[in-house]
Amino acid sequence: MGNKQLVPEMDFQVLTQLQKTEGLISIPDLAEKAKVDQSKASAVCLFRADLGEIEVQETSESEWKLGKKAKALPGKSLPERDIIEALNKMGGNAEIPQVAESTGLENKVIGQSLRWLEEKKWALKDGKTLKLLPDGQNALSNEYDDEKLIKYLIENGNATSADLEAKGINIKAACDLLNGRNFLEEKSRKTRMVCLTPKGRELVDQGLEVRQELNQLTTEMLRSGEWRNATFRPYDVTVPGDPVYSGKDHPLVSIFDQTRRVFVELGFEETESPFVESSFWDFDALFQPQDHPARDMQDTFYIERPNICRLPNDELVDNIGRVHENGGDTGSIGWRYLWNKEQAQKPVLRTHTTAASVRALASDPKPPRKVFCIGPVFRRETVDYKHLPVFHQVEGIIVDEKATFANLLGVLSVFYKKMGFDRFDFRPAFFPYTEPSVEIFVWSEKKKDWIEMGGAGIFRPEVTEPLGCTTPVLAWGLGLERLAMFRYELANITHLYRARINWLKETPLCR
């Protein structure tokens, strides 16, 4: 006899148990018998396998569970069985509504079962009537493999092939019959089977002794120096950790932040404007005629309280009114209607951040200026996967003697490049307050299509001149939720505003 081998306690338990075991044993069974933690048993086995003392065989075993549709079954049997039993009770023939009433099955389920009744030759639909067939009559006193399987699963939750064999259920026959009906869900489960190798058995037969091992390094050990005599039990360092998540900004807010950074880098100054805005600043100052459809109650939120806004100085109001009526001094022919001051005083929820730009322009029309605004805008949209009554825009203007349409396209392309897009398209568009006008599209590789991101243009003279501005003003308003949906691959915009905590946790900060 050689010397007894010193092994850690865990290894001792596992190896001793394996010594008593004939043939292969699964790690869960082994752990249970050795009374050790499963992950620790697994660690010991893998460690000893590397030393050639334990053999590990990975096997995969099928496991069955009830599928989606089976969960809706009222009883422990398949619907076709309920149906033939009902038919039998009703004398062999019955109309479908009667069958539904008698079985308690939904019409839909009965409809789906017709095919199987026919396939099994149990019953046949003739007009509105279901007729029990001879095979169905026979089936009443038999139980088939598919039914046995479903019943077993309803009673036990899940089953492995071994379980089913023990019950005498023919798995293949059962699966063939249930295939494609969503009654069954098959999963393959990996199991590790282990046994001692000859080398391992030799080692164990020599006799084992427990070596005291330590889990935790303590301050006492460090203070006393006792750690020098200790060995530390190795961990299975491949085992995943318990998940923890860092607190995070909302993904849409990260987009606002990134947007803000881009424009600040480009020399823009941030501005803001009220959510409740006068029609004057939201529409009239932007040369939107007072009967423009966008101003309808249908599309714009009007305000019951407060119900009136103050207008700016009379000269400006008068200038704007004249521009609508006849173009004023701008060289335009205007919209040619009688402009109404009261209508301009009606408060609305701002429909675009362009109201912020035009306010900024009116407060200081002297070039050079670059101004931007990020904020919510409101449109009277019914909530669906693409629309919300509130969304966010980034709005910007460049007031500059030298500003050109080419500069507008340039700054937009810089923005989208910085936001991570490399293909964009500019197309002619129409807005009442810009000319030339352009819509910006970015390419979605996933959808293989262009997605519209926003509108831009050069403010019309009818907008700038009444405000005392004679330089070109480049302007744009771009949707930010769209960018977020694009970046985070969201199918539904409401996810942003009624966020799922796990989505917030798991969405990477980096795109």
């Binding site: 998540y245 860092s246 020399g267 009220p274 409740v276 060289g331 349409f405 500019f426 030339p436």
Partner: protein, 614 residues
Amino acid sequence: MPVVSISLDTLLSRIKTEIPREDLAKKLRQLGCDVEGYATVKRFKCSSCDNIMEITETENPPVVCDQCGADYKENPDHLVFLNDHSVIRMELLAVRPDMFDPGGLARTLRGYLGEETHSGYELHSGPYTITVDPALSQKENYRPNIACAIIRNMSFTEDTLRAIMKLQENLHWALGRDRKRASIGVYDLTKLEGTDFQYRAVSNDEIRFTPLGYDLNKESDKLSPKEILERHPKGVQYKRLLEEFPKFPFLTDSKGTVLSMPPIINGEHSRVTPNSRDLFVDVTGTDERLVNKTLNVFVTSVSELAAGVTIEQVEIRYPDNQVSTPDFTPQRVNVSPSHAERVLGIELDKLKIKDFLERMGHQIEDNDSDELSVLVPPYRNDILHPIDLVEDVAIAYGYHNFPLTLVPTHTVGKQLKDQELFDLCRNSLTGLGLFEVLTLILSSEEAQYDKLQLPRDDDHIIIDNPISVEQTMIRRRLLPGLLDTFAANADQELPQQIFEVGYVSQLNKEQETGSIELSRLASAIIGPKVDYSGIRSICEALLREFGGTIKTIPTENPAFIPGRVAMIHAVINDKEIVMGIMGEVHPQVLENFKLVYPVSTFEIQLGPLINHTN
């Protein structure tokens, strides 16, 4: 925006250049058309009024005729399937009604592709006159303007018939604002008597006529104007346009036979059939320029759709003047090359601009000046100012051809002070492991007051035309949004710790707009062991970042458990500022929000902290 299906055959047969499908869509997009894509549509005919309808693959066949209102459920034989048809689908650009139909669109494309420069349309004079009843221009009657034309030598095909009907419908939408400002009628001229027609205001008992789709031989199918508004589907649909006026506008021929009751319905008597050759067209409305433009767009597009037609003018006899329509006198606009160059940022000269504008369908008059004298074609309704022609230059040049340059002037960038503050708050709270959420700014009194057991006050903003009962006001506080977020995450792991930084609104008479936005921060925790002390620690950690400490003063608030709620005061630089409220949420409130775990929360205003960021 409505979507129109343009027949590919009709469109391509009017263009010489061979264009592959993909290129066609691309070219149209470069012109500003919002192309959705290609599709196959099914065409049906209404056998009761010859209306042609199309449906896409995903739509169901019509159940009623959109023209005469025939009910196909009652009379299935009245709906006749014609054929499948290849189309290109586009969203209509309201300002370019001259591109709504395959004829007008082909005209634009031919110019853009350089196939032709437009030389205008020929107008013939003719004997027809319309006398306008002075009563129509009086304020209590409302539809003073009319423009008419005769179109001769028409030969309809199923395609042109469909295109013309659709054009009429789309013009009603785009220029007519759903028939309010302008509406179009088309009639078979050969069925009309004489040449002196009347546009008059008629009272209800003066007239009865057979509307489109009704039986001319049945006395019971003759209706009075009021009966039209009450019984005819189109009457019911457009009733609102005439309701408030004592009389009804009518168009009649020399013998007094009714052509139509604008803007509701035509008479059956002069109904256009596929065999009609000579047509009478009218546009009535409330604005002379618009009525004329609508007629111009319509007749020029019809000329494009049906080769060989001639257009004849009609004399309109107003009480105080006479005009002939259609009026194709071009609008003259001067364009300065240097202005265009400065606006667009590309190199241009007079010759280049001439070429670009001609491609966009304009004519250029020869002159010696630096400026171009541009004759805008009669069907363009969107040229208000020379800048509109500069855009046409840009489109012809091609947006895709523009250099992407930046403004050369340097300016200093700067974010709002509010944002620095928000960033600081977010850094502090996310550092504590909290998750930021966003909730909707629109809320309801139920969520903002009732569910929190708070009395409704009168300092919040109320929406006049809310779209749902859940969004009737701008929020006054953030807490309901946070509680809703918890409710939406009832199946998620606990505890959950969240916060929101955002604005709430309040009435404020001092402000120009009568209201003001206030920045707020709210945080809440939900979980089995959540209590006051946990949230207090978070609040203290946050205010520590502003160099302050907090003082809590017991208070009462129905949204919180009595004895577990406090006012938060911040002490910063020895100054005490009221910040907000903190506590454990009342179980009744939790129940109202369908929550089954305790919640503790605080909500503070950020305004007072604005001067304490770096």
